[in-house]
């Protein structure tokens, strides 16, 4: 999986491409941790993300907890298989998620 972090002022956009599983979740976690300082708007662009496992959910949940204090967070361009995971885990109701 490849992760890219683009900072634009206080807005941070993180894209993930490939499969977000147990081995690749730490990479996403690091990208968030390294760049989240001073960010008021956090956007996850999952347009190229094929697959999400529970390890990925954990990173999103902890990011949401941080952003609850700093600003806002949303997940955009979510593909159907990933959307299913969000729906079945109830994340769709709790987080700001937009389908592709």
């Amino acid at each position: 999986m490849t992760v890219n972090a683009i900072k634009d002022g206080t807005k941070l956009t993180i894209t993930a491409e490939g499969k977000l599983g147990t081995t690749s979740a730490p990479e996403l976690e690091k990208a968030v941790k390294d760049n989240i300082g001073g960010v008021t708007e956090l956007v996850f662009d999952f347009g190229k993300l094929e697959y999400m496992a529970s390890a990925g959910l954990r990173v999103l949940l902890s990011s949401a907890k941080v952003m609850k204090k700093q600003g806002s967070m949303k997940i955009i361009n979510v593909t159907p298989p990933v959307m299913d995971v969000f729906t079945f885990t109830g994340m769709a109701d709790v987080l700001d998620i937009e389908a592709i």
Partner: protein, 645 residues
């Protein structure tokens, strides 16, 4: 900006080249300087030799002239005409005498000197002995010598040159001493030097010229046409000589033997180099009896050898230093750089993961030590890694033990209850995924059952699993409805959840009289409802997984079961089981497998169809994965409603 580190061979090549180049330049410069000095000194020696021998010849010729004009004349007159005639010749001259062999003067132009001894005059004594010796050895009747320098007259008033003539023709083998003033000698010398200096070469292309005290050139030489009797055009040179303090003026002693007695006569010569008459010369200035002798030696000839030698030496040096450079560079490349690259290659292999790679560069002590040290370090690392791995394995074993001991595994759990069939299984993966199931009687006619999937792994995951299971069970057994159980459990599990783990869970209360199932779903996979041979997923709006975020309220959902219906609960270890091509088992396969249609599986002895269904799925998943490593726990729970009383 990133600084690119240069290759060692490049750094060394450049430094080596600079060093060799400097060495070459320095040694060439030193060689040239040494050669130049050597040639200059040789030129000066040549000039000095020529000048000295010329001045000796001039002196000799002058002596001869003086002898001819006076000493010999006196001797002949005395011998042929007697004492009176000789005495007459002495009239008017104060300092010329005739003396006996013992030195006493008996003839003089000045009566004051009669009776005095000529041997009191400097050098005379030795000169007498020398002259006598010469006469004897060569059977000559007469001999003459000149004092090497001016000497004081007997009354000390004048400095004169004395010409000593010894003659056997004079009674008592008499001594004739004639005094000559330096200026008179100079006049005689001029004549001598004109003749003597002609065509006297210095080296091949050098020559001498004689200049008188008026600075007129007295030599006719083919090297300087049309200069005879012209004024010397570089008077400053002679002035420097006369002035006596120039740094290039050398005063040294010329050794002269006088009757085996070595006497040193001081000589003064000026050595220098200048462009005279459009030619670059090494020159030296000497003086004899007031005439200047200028010896000239062209620098071209003097340095010719030097230049040739330098050219040859530079050529040799270029070759030698080039070879040296190449050899050194080759040596360094072979002995150091290649070895370093070899070590680096081995290190790369080790970094790439091959910890059994050994560095074996041992052809010098330093590399031998390096290889040994690196290998020892890697071995140490391997030991640490093995130790760490062993510890992890130990941890996993403990976690697995916790997990398996926590789950109820006695089936059937409530054998006296005929209203339902229940079976559950959990096959742990190596990495211990933290799945669990649970079931309990809640009151007399309600069966609570639960399946859950913890996100954490190993011991932390196992412990979180224990906590969640206990919390949910105690809340359920206290009589709370499922939604509220989850709401409260969620709060409790969010507390102190530093590791940020969460757990998906599906909790159902089955009313054994009515078949109604009250459900709370915290983000878990939808179970399969098997009704009349048809299987379909029970999609109920889920709440967020437990311990994900606090403040979440769960809603109760319901499902009505008919007699014979089955609910099959599972974790994603079933649907996400992968075969060797990393293809997932999937929801479709599961629901298809559970669509029995007409062909209901045979019930097992103890737990009915519930157990058979579980075994079926387990078998199918195993067949599907076919040897690929199990990545997640495979957990399932199947409950069948057999109808109320």
């Amino acid at each position: 900006m990133e600084k690119k580190t240069k290759k060692l061979s490049r750094i060394i090549t450049i430094r080596l080249f600079i060093a060799v180049f400097i060495a070459f330049v320095v040694s060439s410069a030193v060689t040239y300087t040494v050669l130049y000095i050597s040639c200059a000194e040789k030129a000066n020696a040549l000039l000095q030799y020529g000048s000295v021998s010329l001045s000796i010849d001039i002196k000799a010729d002058t002596n001869t002239e003086l002898f001819n004009s006076f000493g010999g004349f006196m001797a002949t007159t005395y011998a042929q005409e007697g004492e009176e005639a000789a005495a007459a010749l002495l009239e008017g001259s104060n300092y010329s005498y005739v003396a006996k062999m013992d030195g006493t003067i008996y003839l003089s132009g000045n009566a004051d000197f009669i009776g005095k001894n000529v041997k009191d005059i400097e050098y005379i004594s030795s000169m007498i002995d020398s002259a006598l010796k010469y006469m004897e050895q060569n059977s000559m009747p007469i001999s003459y010598e000149m004092t090497p320098t001016t000497v004081k007259t007997l009354d000390g008033k004048l400095d004169v040159y004395y010409l000593l003539t010894v003659s056997r023709d004079i009674p008592d083998s008499g001594i004739i001493l004639s005094a000559h003033l330096p200026e008179d000698c100079a006049e005689v010398a001029l004549y001598a030097s004109e003749l003597v200096s002609m065509n006297r070469n210095v080296g091949l292309t050098g020559f001498n010229i004689v200049i008188n005290s008026d600075y007129d050139i007295l030599t006719a030489t083919t090297f300087l046409p049309n200069t005879y009797h012209t004024k010397f055009p570089y008077p400053e040179i002679l002035d420097r000589y006369n002035e006596g303090t120039d740094e290039k003026l050398k005063t040294f002693d010329l050794p002269i033997y006088l009757d085996s007695e070595l006497i040193n006569v001081p000589a003064k010569m000026l050595f220098d180099r200048a462009v005279l008459w459009d030619t670059d010369y090494f020159y030296c200035v000497n003086q004899t009896f007031g005439t200047y002798i200028l010896s000239l030696y062209p620098a071209e000839e003097a340095l010719e050898q030097a230049n040739d030698t330098i050219f040859l030496i530079v050529l040799i040096e270029v070759v030698v230093f080039t070879v040296l450079f190449i050899v050194l560079r080759l040596l360094i490349k072979r002995r150091v750089i290649r070895k370093l690259n070899s070590v680096n290659a081995s290190l790369s292999a080790i970094t790439a993961g091959n910890l059994d790679e050994k560095v074996e560069v041992r052809d010098s002590r330093e590399f031998d030590a390096l290889s040994t040290d690196i290998n020892a370090t890697v071995d140490k690392l391997k030991d640490y890694i093995a130790e760490a791995a062993a510890r992890i394995d130990a941890d996993l074993a403990v976690a697995k033990a916790i997990q398996s001991s926590a789950l109820p595994n006695v089936f059937p759990p409530f054998p006296e209850r005929k209203e339902f069939e229940l079976f559950a299984s959990m096959n742990a993966a190596k990495e211990v995924g933290g799945d669990f199931y649970d079931f309990y009687m809640l009151g007399d006619h309600t069966l609570g059952f639960l399946i859950a999937d913890v996100s954490g792994k190993s011991i932390p995951g196992a412990m979180f699993m224990m906590t969640s299971k206990t919390v949910i069970k105690s809340l359920a057994e206290s009589g709370l409805p499922p939604a509220e159980v989850f709401s409260i459990a969620n709060e409790k599990l969010c507390e102190g959840n530093e590791a940020e783990m969460f757990v998906t869970a599906w909790l159902g209360y089955l009313d054994l009289k009515t078949g109604l199932v009250r459900i709370a779903n915290a983000g878990h996979n939808p179970p399969v409802l098997i009704h009349g041979g048809k299987a379909e997923y029970v999609i109920l709006k889920p709440g967020l997984m437990l311990a994900g975020m606090d403040g979440v309220r769960y809603k109760e959902l319901t499902l009505q079961l008919e007699k014979g219906d089955m609910l099959y609960l599972y974790t994603d270890g079933v649907t996400e089981a992968m075969d060797k091509d990393e293809e997932q088992y999937g929801e479709d396969r599961l629901v298809k497998l559970l669509s029995f249609g007409e062909n209901y599986p045979a019930p097992s002895a103890a737990n009915g169809i519930a157990e058979t269904v579980c075994d079926m799925v387990t078998a199918d998943v195993t067949k599907f994965t076919d040897g690929a490593e199990q990545s997640d726990d495979i957990t399932m729970l199947c409950v069948r409603f057999l109808g109320g009383e």
